[in-house]
């Protein structure tokens, strides 16, 4: 069985321009303020929905496409389709991450009443990473979702 490898490439941070960070900061700050205002005006039931709002996803996906197009353009190739495919793969990863997000919310909802808040937030973040990571691994390995897809073919 081929085990999928996760790599860390810190040099990728140098490729991000300052205004791209600024854009993320702006979107992130705006949705956090927005969620607070909605909760204040219409109550925490409605405000809570926005804790799982895909605030920066459109900007991130566009960035993925742009970077790939630039990379391919340097080699004299039109990278439009490749950029879209990569953004699609990024979105598929986010779909798995969103199941982790549900695990995060469940952990906070269930355990916050009786446990220290910092521990619950830490545990919930761990639950998000664990669920997302395991689902990603299953999707990538031949004993995972690929096997199910092959069976259905």
């Amino acid at each position: 069985m081929k085990v999928p490898k996760v790599r860390i490439d810190v040099s990728a941070l140098r490729e991000i321009k300052w205004y791209e960070y600024a854009l993320r900061f702006l979107f992130g700050g705006a949705i956090t303020v927005g969620a607070g205002l909605i909760a204040k005006r219409w109550g925490p039931e409605l405000g809570g929905l926005f804790l799982a709002f895909p605030a920066i996803f459109p900007a991130s996906a566009t960035l993925v496409e742009k970077k790939e197009k630039e990379k391919k353009a340097k080699a004299g190739i039109d990278g439009t389709n490749r950029g879209r495919t990569l953004a699609g793969i990024d979105a598929a990863g986010a779909a798995l991450g969103s199941i982790g997000l549900i695990a995060f919310a469940l952990t906070v909802w269930i355990f916050l009443g009786d446990s220290p808040a910092w521990l619950v937030l830490f545990g919930a973040t761990f639950a998000w990473a664990l669920v997302g990571g395991v689902l990603w691994y299953l999707r990538k390995t031949k004993y995972g979702l690929r096997l199910l897809r092959a069976r259905n073919r």
Binding site: D9, G29, P44, L46, L49, A61, L96, G132
Partner: protein, 118 residues
């Protein structure tokens, strides 16, 4: 006003940290997980816990479960449309697909909310 500025700064900083993590991870499918990081939730819940207490934060977390399901539908639709646009050779831009699909998030989140809390 002070509280809103603080909220803005904390939210922006946490979102930036998670997206920087998304930039350094390879392959792209794994980095995509960070696209659904609980960044806004961490910032908001931390501030809510200080100001409004545990019970209020628990109510927000319960609704967040519904928002998470809506996020799943949204991300799945975006992935499908983008891969499909390459297959059928349509020129859908990533920004257009990702932005217009937010309508699905709103519809799903508010629909789940209506069913759960009506």
């Amino acid at each position: 006003m002070k509280e809103m500025i603080f909220r803005f700064l904390v939210g922006g900083a946490v979102v930036c940290c998670f997206s920087a993590l998304g930039d350094i991870f390879k392959p792209k499918s794994f980095a995509g997980l960070l696209g659904a990081a609980p960044s806004v939730a961490l910032a908001t819940l931390s501030l809510t816990l200080f100001k409004d207490g545990k019970h209020y934060a628990q109510i927000e977390a319960r609704s967040m479960i519904l928002g998470g399901f809506a996020f799943f539908l949204y991300a799945w639709l975006v992935a499908w449309l983008l891969v499909r646009s390459v297959v059928i050779r349509r020129k859908f831009s990533v920004l257009a697909v990702a932005s217009t699909s937010l309508v699905l998030w709103f519809a799903a989140a508010l629909g789940f909310f209506y069913v759960a809390f009506r």
